[in-house]
């Protein structure tokens, strides 16, 4: 499998949030503004990259029977490091993300990638895998938070979008808005998928008919 494919699969075909619906909690909780979404995405990508490299490098040393606890300790170490770095350099983001930074430890995507990919592959593919998954997750967070911030607060990354005083739908930045936004995006993606499948089936049918008539 080529490195490029490892990279792009995390963004499109196996997007952790939109395709596999993993890592839901932060994607619903912190996506009230685009800045938070980007901050969470970057922190997440950093932890995933570091843990994938470490686990892939140590995959032959870690005994099989205690691999899950070992992965959790490795991941928790990197999460603590990211937490301290954010506390020191981006205190505003640190307070607005709050409890969800330490909770990166129990994000199922990171443990899932460790178990499904990093412990079977070399360092270079694991780096590509982590970058793809991380960027895919970050993009998904940005999409959700863009909808919520524009509709709920009338701003995008803090800048006003609508001129004048357009009424904003406060519900979008309240908790229900998170569920509604993600539900609608998933429904839209399903619809796209269904249309694509139907088109393909129709195409196959017409090819089959042509073959039949030519015979």
């Amino acid at each position: 499998m080529s490195l490029g494919k490892e990279f792009t699969k995390g963004i499109f075909s196996e997007n952790p949030l939109f395709r596999l619906t993993l890592g839901l909690c932060p994607s619903l909780a912190i996506t009230t503004s685009v800045n938070n979404g980007i901050g969470m995405g970057v922190a997440f990508t950093g932890v995933l990259l570091a843990s994938n490299i470490a686990i892939s490098a140590m995959r032959k040393i870690i005994p099989d029977s205690i691999r899950i606890p070992s992965y959790i300790v490795i991941i928790a170490t990197f999460v603590s490091m990211v937490e301290m770095l954010m506390h020191a350099y981006t205190p505003e983001l640190f307070t607005s993300l709050g409890v969800f930074i330490p909770l990166i430890v129990v994000n199922c995507i990171i443990l899932g990638r460790a178990e499904a990919f990093a412990n079977k592959n070399g360092i270079l593919p694991s780096i590509m895998d982590a970058l793809g998954m991380g960027i895919g997750y970050t993009l998904a967070l940005v999409v959700i938070s863009a909808f919520r911030e524009v509709l709920g607060a009338g701003t995008f990354m803090g800048y006003a979008v609508f001129s004048g005083s357009a009424p904003s739908a406060l519900i979008m930045i309240l908790p229900p808005g998170g569920f509604i936004t993600l539900g609608c995006i998933l429904a839209f993606l399903n619809k796209m998928q269904n249309v694509k499948v139907a088109k393909k089936a129709k195409l196959n049918q017409s090819i089959a008919q042509q073959q039949l008539s030519s015979n």
Partner: protein, 191 residues
């Protein structure tokens, strides 16, 4: 006593852990297809979450603060929770095979349930006392169970409904959760 009741009711209805704090969404959406499994998961979470919060509170107070190593909080807590879940699983298997049969499947899932670690950390952040920690974690756990059981009841009915193809499964579940969350917003003025 009154203060503890306020914390418990606030945690169950006003700041519901799933519907307004978004902790524990994965089991909330994953284990809510059948009412019976929702009840099993709810009981297992209530049990583990309450014990884990109390133990992590003690660990923070008597080990981490005493030694001045609060920065190890995340690692220490996740290790405590993971080994506690293993321990609880072993004890239940030995002492009560019936209970183990009912809860066994859900126990390993709880380690990666962010509600457990989340509540443990929030208790420390809010600098609760031991009794307040007990009240808060019990309230949160009951709130989780309540939301999960209500949601599973709705989803069992949804199975028979005629839902557009693209909305089936996860999307309709999320929109249902949104409506429940709006309903829970109504409790805001309660206290």
């Amino acid at each position: 006593m009154q203060e503890m009741m306020i914390i418990i009711i606030g945690a169950i209805l006003i700041n519901n852990i799933v519907l307004s704090q978004f902790l524990g969404c994965c089991p909330f959406l994953g284990v809510s297809k059948k009412l019976s499994s929702a009840i099993g998961m709810g009981v297992a979470v209530t049990f583990v979450l309450t014990i884990a919060s109390l133990i992590t509170w003690l660990v923070q107070k008597f080990i981490l603060v005493n030694l001045g190593i609060e920065y190890l909080q995340t690692i220490a807590f996740i290790l405590v929770i993971a080994s506690l879940v293993q321990f609880v699983e072993m004890v239940i298997r030995k002492k009560s095979p019936d209970l183990y049969k009912a809860l066994g499947v859900y126990l390993p899932l709880i380690t990666t349930n962010c509600a457990v670690l989340g509540v443990a950390i929030i208790n420390i952040q809010k600098s609760y006392t031991f009794m307040q920690t007990l009240a808060n974690s019990l309230g949160n756990a009951l709130g989780f169970t309540l939301a999960l059981i209500l949601f599973a009841g709705i989803r069992e009915r949804l199975e028979e409904a005629d839902i557009p193809k693209s909305l089936q499964g996860m999307p309709i579940a999320l929109i249902t959760a949104a409506l429940m969350s709006i309903a829970f917003l109504g409790f805001t003025g309660l206290l």
